[in-house]
């Protein structure tokens, strides 16, 4: 250990947490509209240096994701040992495209020139392979996967920083960065297995999703969750046993982390997608085989996905036979505010969405 008085190995398992804010995305309701992506984008990443940053992205699965092929970029832990990660490039994130707005809108060429990115022709973007999916007609399939920083319980980014510039807030477990301490070394971005850390090439520091903590502090849900037209994003405290997040994750065990094998223990969870049966060549239903291959879902959400989907099917069967399902009622979300409790305040109450983020 160096003689600088700092513990070289941090306690990455507890961080002295009092509670943990978590989110659950119900993938059965996501329509890939990107409203969450844009809500985040317009709130947090409008400055130069952040133009290519999309802290919230929605990708079509199966697909290569964003940054491109991030699942092959390493990072995280295997049996507690940090794994080498590749640093994603700006190109792999899709770059930031500048458009010919001036030409189309102000130079009288609105009828002859169409809106297009300027400069080098882009080869990737934050949702480049949207709606491609996999499989052959009539058994083609895809679903949407919204992704943001997982605010992990064992955040490999926090442990990787040699300057202790990153930390997990004790009061709610949000993973934050002290931008004064960050020198843009980007070990965090290498170590993050979900590749959700971006380099601000103007400020020369790294940046990532802050889970809208200035809004949460005022009782307002994160922008991505509150703006979701599909009403599929739950926000709340993981240890709040009376509310949906706890029940979905621990009681019903239908909300699962993405790639649990990465070893960082995410706090963003997903209700895996149900799918229709495959069609046989004669057009009849193959009731033994879901359209989305279970092997694929297992690769994304781990072996617990089988039990989660079985539970969902059982509950659906219950409702079909006229019984009541608390799980399905929870996922239907009859009252919008049940998604966010206790973060139900309207941004207008605290001075509008901008005021909510200005400290």
């Amino acid at each position: 250990m160096p003689k600088n008085g700092k513990a070289a190995v941090k306690d990455v398992t507890t961080h002295g947490l009092q509670s943990q804010v978590a989110m659950v995305f119900d993938l059965n309701k996501c329509i890939g509209c990107q409203t969450c992506s844009v809500a985040c984008k317009t709130l947090w990443t409008r400055d130069e240096g952040t133009d290519y940053q999309w802290w919230m992205t929605v990708n079509t699965q199966p697909g290569r994701g964003c940054p491109m092929d991030y699942e092959q970029m390493g990072g995280g832990y295997r049996e507690g040992v940090p794994q080498e990660g590749i640093l994603p490039t700006r190109e792999e994130f899709g770059g930031g495209w500048d458009f010919n707005y001036d030409e189309v809108f102000y130079q009288g060429k609105g009828n002859s020139v169409h809106l297009q990115p300027l400069g080098k022709k882009p080869t990737w973007g934050p949702n480049w392979d949207e709606d491609q999916g996999a499989g052959e007609y009539p058994n083609a399939y895809y679903f949407y996967l919204p992704r943001l920083c997982n605010h992990c319980t064992r955040p490999s980014c926090v442990e990787a920083c040699p300057r202790s510039a990153m930390y997990k807030r004790p009061q709610d477990g949000i993973v934050l960065r002290d931008e004064e301490q960050c020198r843009g070394l980007q070990f965090c971005a290498e170590a993050c297995p979900y590749k959700k850390i971006y380099f601000n090439y103007v400020k020369k520091i790294s940046q990532h999703c802050i889970l809208c903590f200035p809004r949460l502090e005022q009782g307002v849900a994160p922008a991505c969750a509150r703006q979701c037209p599909g009403r599929l994003v739950f926000v709340g405290y993981l240890n709040d046993v009376e509310r949906p997040i706890h029940k979905l994750v621990y009681d019903w065990e239908v909300a699962l982390p993405l790639h649990p094998e990465y070893g960082t223990d995410p706090n963003i969870f997903y209700i895996p997608p149900l799918s229709p049966y495959r069609l046989k060549e004669d057009g009849s239903l193959d009731k033994d085989t879901p359209r989305i291959p279970m092997e694929y879902l297992e690769r994304l959400f781990g072996p617990r996905v089988h039990k989660a989907l079985n539970t969902m099917q059982d509950e659906l069967q219950k409702v079909r036979s006229g019984k009541k399902s608390e799980l399905l009622d929870t996922l239907i979300v009859y009252r919008w505010h049940t998604l966010f409790e206790p973060f139900t305040r309207d941004p207008v109450e605290v001075g509008g969405p901008q005021a909510a983020v200005q400290r």
Binding site: K3, N4, R183, Q186, F187, A191, F199
Partner: protein, 214 residues
Amino acid sequence: MSMHAKRVTNATALLDPGAKGWEKVDREVVELAGMPLHLQTSRYVRTVWADKLIGKVRAVSVRAAHDGERLAIRLEWNDDTENREFAERQFPDAAAVVFPSNGDAPLATLGAPDAKVNAWYWRADLEEGENLVAQGLGTDTPTKDTPIVARGAWSDSRWCVVVSRALKAKGAANVKLAPGKTVKAGFTVWEGTNRERGDLRSYSRQWRDLTLDA
């Protein structure tokens, strides 16, 4: 081993790394070594870099001169690749001259909680130099009280970098300089193609005495 800063009539003219005046200043070659793995403060770095080369640059040629008002130090080293920016999994090349803030401090750990070091830092992507103060690895922080001039030029697979400061300085952590005075100096270089940044760098293992000619 002792080095000296030659007394010249105009040190400001030497801020350009290519200035002719540098040819008349003696040079000293300082050997560099990679920063030891066990000193890296991040477990990620200690694990991932266990079988990688740390500190690609193994020698730096040092010249120093002052005019009673300003000290300029010129570092020169071989580097096949000019890394000017953060780009494509690479980092900007950088270098620094390190001094104990007050008499003595450990060089390998970049100071200690009770013994600050002062580093005159140049990085290829920055317009200006940075005046850093550190009290241990991973604690280096820029101070604004006294500016550092830093300029670099790359040609023929070689960096020439000048870092410079007025002898008079305000903050307590800035190394005290005066004609006739001897201070300890250390040298450190980052090679961006080798993804060196933070404490992935090469450094002179020991302090060298640097005497400012009277």
